[in-house]
């Protein structure tokens, strides 16, 4: 699914990612760890197609319609409600019967009761849950998740863990984390940066 050879990222003279080789098979689960500033986020942005490597070759075997990306930012509009955000992305991703899928995801991540409230009124944890709904909305084949447990309370983290448990083995994952213990049991490969 993903094959990278010597991919490196520089911004001017600053090196954001040291050269990395990577092979992630279809339905694999790669856990990326490393200290702050080691290049985890940069690597995930390269894999998602949001940045281009300065050097090396990178082949990701899905197009962007089949990719789900969770970044440091939740990638949702503050002034729209949770429902309106998912409706917009459901349309842009051409999700069939997206209203039903949105309802199911909001219910699952405990946001149904606040679906008509603006995201600006959500707590950081609720916003992260909504971001997870957005990532899963179009049922992606490849999930690139940058520290997905960030800001989630125990209940939210538990909901995420259950979603990961269900999808692992039938989807390909690249997950960066500062809490490897949460995803260690799912990992088929590990990469330590830094």
């Amino acid at each position: 699914m993903i094959r990278a050879r010597g991919i490196e990222k520089r911004y001017g003279r600053r090196r954001a990612l040291v050269p990395v080789d990577l092979d992630v098979p279809r339905d694999g689960f790669l856990v990326v760890t490393g200290a702050n500033g080691s290049g985890k986020t940069t690597l995930l942005r390269l894999l998602a197609g949001l940045a281009v490597p300065t050097r090396g070759s990178l082949d990701v075997g899905v197009n962007r319609a089949r990719l789900g990306f969770l970044g440091h930012e939740p990638l949702v509009y503050r002034e729209l409600t949770g429902l309106e955000n998912l409706d917009l992305f459901g349309r842009l991703y051409r999700v069939p019967e997206h209203r039903e899928r949105i309802g199911m995801l909001l219910e699952r991540f405990g946001l149904w009761d606040v679906r008509n409230e603006r995201v600006s009124a959500y707590s950081r944890g609720m916003t992260q849950r909504l971001a997870l709904c957005r990532v899963l909305l179009h049922d992606p084949e490849l999930l690139v998740l940058d520290e997905p447990h960030t800001a989630l309370d125990e209940q939210g983290a538990g909901l995420l863990d259950r979603a990961l448990d269900e999808l692992v083995g039938s989807r390909t994952f690249v997950v960066s984390t500062h809490e490897p213990r949460r995803v260690e049991r799912l990992a088929t490969a590990r990469l330590v940066l830094g």
Binding site: A48, G49, L50, L67, F69, H72, L75, R91, Y93, V119
Partner: protein, 212 residues
Amino acid sequence: MNYLADVAALTRKDLRIELRARDTLPAMLLFVLATLVVFHFALPEGTGDDAAYGLLWVAIVFTALLGLARAWVPEQEHGVLDGLVLAPCDRSAIWLGKTLATLAFLLAAQVIALPVFVLFFAPLDATALAGVLLANIGICAVGSLMSAMAAAGRARELLLPLLLLPLAIPLVVGGVGAAISPDGGRFLLFLALYDAVFAVLSWASFEYVVTE
């Protein structure tokens, strides 16, 4: 059809955000009205209408600049632009949606500002109004692209006027020409040509502005 549906959804989203946040349109309205009032007192008595038409265009360009400076703010908050760029829709739909929303804000400001101009300064005939409409399209089309470029930089407040004002000069020439020239139709044709060329260029190049 999918393309138009995407554009409609993205435009609707911007209008909805503005209806709730009221960040952009009230500022544009206040700015254009304040500018016209200042010009009213600054312009010496007995100055001809031609000078007033020039001042109208100063007000229009800077009002548009104010709206365009805020155009991508909702996308910058929470990094939403990355989400839009990753969506499988044609990326030019993002630019077109933003252009249409900015055009709607500019038109809404002008619905108030143009009658005030007529009241304070000089009449506006059909040719002058057609010039305003065509110049609006041009400035929003180019401005949405320049604003996206500026938003990616660090000094975006500084960068946008530097990028946009040189490109807006032909629009000012066309707009003022349409208002004061006896052969205003020629200037309207010039503005329409500018709109067509720069809209196509902006439409085609937006993808390269929002991706590496």
